[in-house]
């Protein structure tokens, strides 16, 4: 059995900020999220043994690569520290955390800072949409397409519709719930935005159709933001718990994980899944792998899920893929209020990518941080009462890379 890996907390920036308007370099975001995390966790900088940075495309958005190296700029004590940047499209943060977990399990390092960071508001929506296209098979799926990802995830909705039927009002309700949860989250990008079910159902000047069934309210946000969590070995976590005056069993652990990669092209994924009850079987496998490793028999043993709602269709997919309903019946969980805060299994109490925001490379880390907050009772107004076990699903591309964590106390 692999050694335990603990989550010692972390920090996220206010996702409502526009760092280009603040005229900041991306390293300023890394600095702020790091300094915030030290203030919150009280981890001694000298104890950090490595830093892994998840980032999707700073080369394009900011003309800056090699982000791991910027961790060394934060404090003279970090000179010589091993650092690395990880990239797996929108799952960049997730794979950075997976790698950190594996390094700790292998006994290579005791404490690793896992940062996710993305600055996206440096370019306009069309150019940014084109950049996002490199997360798919650009040449085949995105070249010359104005908003490739809404199109791809619109096709996910189309496939559900073809197999099972999908109603627009269920997708609208997903958007409404995420915005509503975001209003409880002081770091959520949309916390002060207007949203209602009627607005999400409507179409017009302020909720235009982007492509196909995907309207503006079905989309996650263009976000600048960073998140950081510290992962640690049991040895260090025990010492840390002693120093903080808490018992080790109050610190969240990673109970299980799943990591799969599907064919890059969306059409190939759908082709492969024709005989499978699940529309995205590789996403389903990452979930079931994580559940198995965590020793869970059923999704109902989870207290909450932070899922990758890059579009309402991807949350619709997550509902049945996590097993809240039979395949194709996600609408039941929506109608019955299962996924709301206070429901049987809340999804995205943070507001998710639609409400909290989606700084691409930061999302997987932000999800893990929110799992930590739920498990330690520090999620404030979006706390799920008594949370003991929280799952995260972070996907890259059109559900190409799938990373799932299950954390618990």
């Amino acid at each position: 059995m692999a050694p335990d890996v603990y989550i010692l907390g972390g920090f996220q920036t206010d996702f409502a900020r526009n760092w280009a308007r603040e005229k900041k370099h991306i390293s300023a975001m890394i600095r702020e999220v790091y300094e915030g995390s030290i203030a919150v966790t009280k981890i001694e900088p000298k104890d950090i043994r490595a830093a892994f940075v998840g980032n999707f495309a700073a080369e394009l958005y900011c003309m800056q690569a090699h982000l791991g190296a910027f961790f060394v700029e934060l404090d003279p004590v970090f000179k010589g520290l091993p650092t690395c940047r990880y990239e797996a499209a929108c799952a960049s943060g997730g794979v950075a955390a997976l790698s950190a977990m594996a390094h700790i399990q292998a006994g290579v390092y005791d404490v690793i800072a896992v940062i996710g960071v993305e600055q996206m508001k440096t370019v306009d929506a069309v150019r940014g949409g084109d950049f996002l296209g490199i997360a798919a098979w650009y040449e085949r799926e995105c070249a010359g397409v104005e908003f490739p990802f809404p199109k791809l995830f619109g096709r996910l909705g189309d496939e559900y519709d073809r197999r099972f039927g999908v109603k627009a009002e269920h997708l609208a309700r997903i958007a409404e719930i995420n915005y509503s949860n975001a209003r409880r989250n002081p770091n959520a990008q949309t916390r002060d935005w207007y949203m209602s079910f009627d607005h999400a159902c409507g179409a017009g000047q302020y909720n235009p159709a982007i492509v196909g069934r995907i309207k503006a309210t079905d989309c996650s946000q263009i976000t600048d933001g960073a998140a950081i969590v510290y992962l640690a070995s049991e040895k260090f976590a025990a010492e840390y718990a002693r120093r903080c005056g808490i018992s080790l069993d109050k610190l969240p652990r990673i109970l299980g994980w799943g990591h799969t990669t599907a064919p890059v092209e969306f059409a190939a994924k759908i082709q492969d899944s024709q005989s499978d009850p699940y529309v995205l079987p590789w996403t389903r496998k990452a979930i079931t792998d994580a559940m198995k490793r965590a020793g869970l028999d059923s999704c109902w043993q989870l207290s909450a899920i932070e899922t990758h709602d890059c579009f309402t269709t991807s949350e619709y997919m997550a509902i049945d893929h996590f097993g809240l309903t039979e395949p194709g019946k996600s609408w039941q969980a929506i109608e019955q209020g299962v996924i709301e805060i206070g429901g049987k299994l809340p999804i995205n109490p943070s507001g998710g990518l639609i409400g909290c925001g989606h700084p691409i490379g930061a999302t997987g880390v932000r999800q893990l941080l929110d799992a930590y907050k739920q498990l330690t009772g520090t999620a404030g107004d979006y706390q799920v009462a008594g949370a003991k076990c929280v799952a995260t699903l972070n996907i890259g591309g059109s559900a190409t890379t799938n990373v799932v964590f299950i954390a618990g106390i």
């Binding site: 920090f11 920036t13 206010d14 900020r17 308007r21 603040e22 005229k23 900041k24 370099h25 390293s27 300023a28 975001m29 890394i30 600095r31 702020e32 915030g36 203030a39 209003r183 002060d192 935005w193 207007y194 949203m195 209602s196 009627d198 607005h199 409507g202 017009g204 000047q205 302020y206 909720n207």
Partner: protein, 429 residues
């Protein structure tokens, strides 16, 4: 006492603050009557509310009308009558008389004024009007500036103030700052004194240089003279005059309206609202900005000031090294650096000095902190104390500027906390 607000009548809904605040109410599911002198004016307000929400759905919660046709019904039904009419005592008093004739005895009546004496406004009105009358001072634009200063007058039932505090905070998501009914309350009292100081320095250093020196890198979204252009020079003068009439403190002599501003006003140079005439800035069709020259009264080309310590501080802010940026400001030599330090010192000293006068002593600096952050998007006074290295360093700075160090600053420990996401107040430009 009224326990629920389901319906609100906004008086002066054709104006910016009336329509946008009414829009915030509609966004939160409250039925709102938009009233103004004409239905068309109210409709314009509704359009503004829709644009603010970026949703046509909010229009379903808004009913437009004029003072003739809808006043009695709207004010008779409303749980809260929100008055946002022009800042004129006579106009407001006349409006209150009409309201008093048709309102329910338990309805709440509030004014958005922060400048007119609150005691005077409800004089002559019924007992229930006075008991339910208070000020709810919203900031503009309310979708982004969440501050709302709240205060009653002598006859206001404290339960009404408490009820509104909770409603504003919980239902409308405002950052509520309980203030004392002193002229301009907390936010405008502090900010406009700073603006007055800066307008006076324009005569020595010019518009471009002053906005460069006290630019966003010093902890604000927008440079100060550009902010006055946005507010309007006429409003600026009115607020300064109001402060001169109704306040008396150690900084009173700094409340000046320089002669060149009087000339600007006479020439109709009010700022953004008189775009063709200009204000401190004049935008050409090409997009280029010219700067008002206080000596000649003409507009002149910019020269792009470049001062080493400012550039170094801005670069440090670009990299997220905020405390180091302020050390640059503290340690720089030269007249320009002294000017920046003097303005920062005035801001901090005046804010701490006003504790107990504009906000209750029990809030310490936090009341003023909250209004400067949520009403102006300025780095709040205690954050600047933190940036400067603590209250002893801030006290030294204040003394160097020839100002008295407020007692509250010497004993304050607020600045010791960690200010999460404070970087958003410092713009590297």
């Amino acid at each position: 006492m009224n326990k629920e607000i389901k319906t609100v009548a906004v008086l002066g809904a054709s104006g910016t603050i009336g329509s946008l605040t009414g829009g915030i109410l509609a966004q939160n599911g409250v039925q709102v009557y938009f009233l103004s002198r004409s239905r068309e004016g109210s409709q314009k307000g509704l359009n503004r509310a829709v644009k603010q929400a970026r949703s046509e759905v909010v229009a379903r919660f808004i009913t437009c009308g004029d003072y003739e046709s809808l006043f009695e019904k709207a004010c008779g039904q409303a749980d809260w009558i929100l008055e946002c009419v022009t800042e004129d005592m006579a106009v407001k008093k006349q409006m209150y008389e009409k309201v008093d004739a048709v309102r329910r005895p338990d309805s709440i009546v509030s004014s958005t004024t922060s400048s007119l004496p609150l005691e005077e406004l409800p004089k002559g009105r019924s007992e229930s009007f006075c008991a339910n009358f208070l000020s709810t001072h919203f900031y503009n634009p309310p979708a982004r500036m969440l501050a709302c200063e709240l205060t009653g007058q002598t006859k206001t039932d404290p339960a009404v103030v408490n009820f509104m505090h909770e409603f504003l905070e919980k239902k409308l998501r405002r950052v509520v700052i309980p203030v004392k009914p002193a002229a301009a309350f907390a936010g405008n009292r502090v900010a406009f004194l700073l603006f007055a100081c800066i307008t006076e320095l324009v005569e020595r250093f010019g518009v471009e240089m002053m906005d460069y020196l006290i630019g966003p890198y010093t902890g604000r979204l927008m440079a100060p003279l550009a902010t006055i252009d946005l507010v309007g020079l006429d409003i600026h003068k009115a607020i300064i005059q109001n402060l001169k009439n109704y306040t008396q403190d150690a900084m009173y002599d700094k409340l000046v309206v320089p002669a060149y501003i009087e000339k600007m006003l006479a020439a109709g140079r009010l700022g953004n609202k008189t775009r063709n005439n200009g204000g401190f800035y004049k935008k050409l069709e090409s997009g280029q900005f010219l700067y008002y020259d206080s000596a000649s009264g003409d507009y002149i080309q910019g020269y792009g000031p470049h001062i080493q310590f400012v550039e170094r501080a801005r670069n440090l802010i670009h990299l997220g090294r905020y405390n180091e940026a302020f050390q640059e400001i503290l340690n720089a030599a030269g007249t320009e650096a002294e000017i920046v330090r003097e303005i920062l010192a005035t801001y901090i000293a005046y804010s701490y000095m006003l504790i107990g006068e504009v906000t209750d002593e029990k809030y310490g600096i936090e009341g003023i902190d909250r209004v400067m952050a949520a009403g102006f998007h300025w780095a709040c006074p205690s954050l600047l104390v933190n940036m400067l290295g603590g209250n002893e360093r801030a006290a030294e700075l204040i003394q160097s500027a020839g100002l008295a160090v407020p007692r509250a600053l010497r004993t304050d420990t607020t600045w010791k906390k960690y200010y999460f996401n404070a970087g958003k107040y410092f713009i590297a430009g």
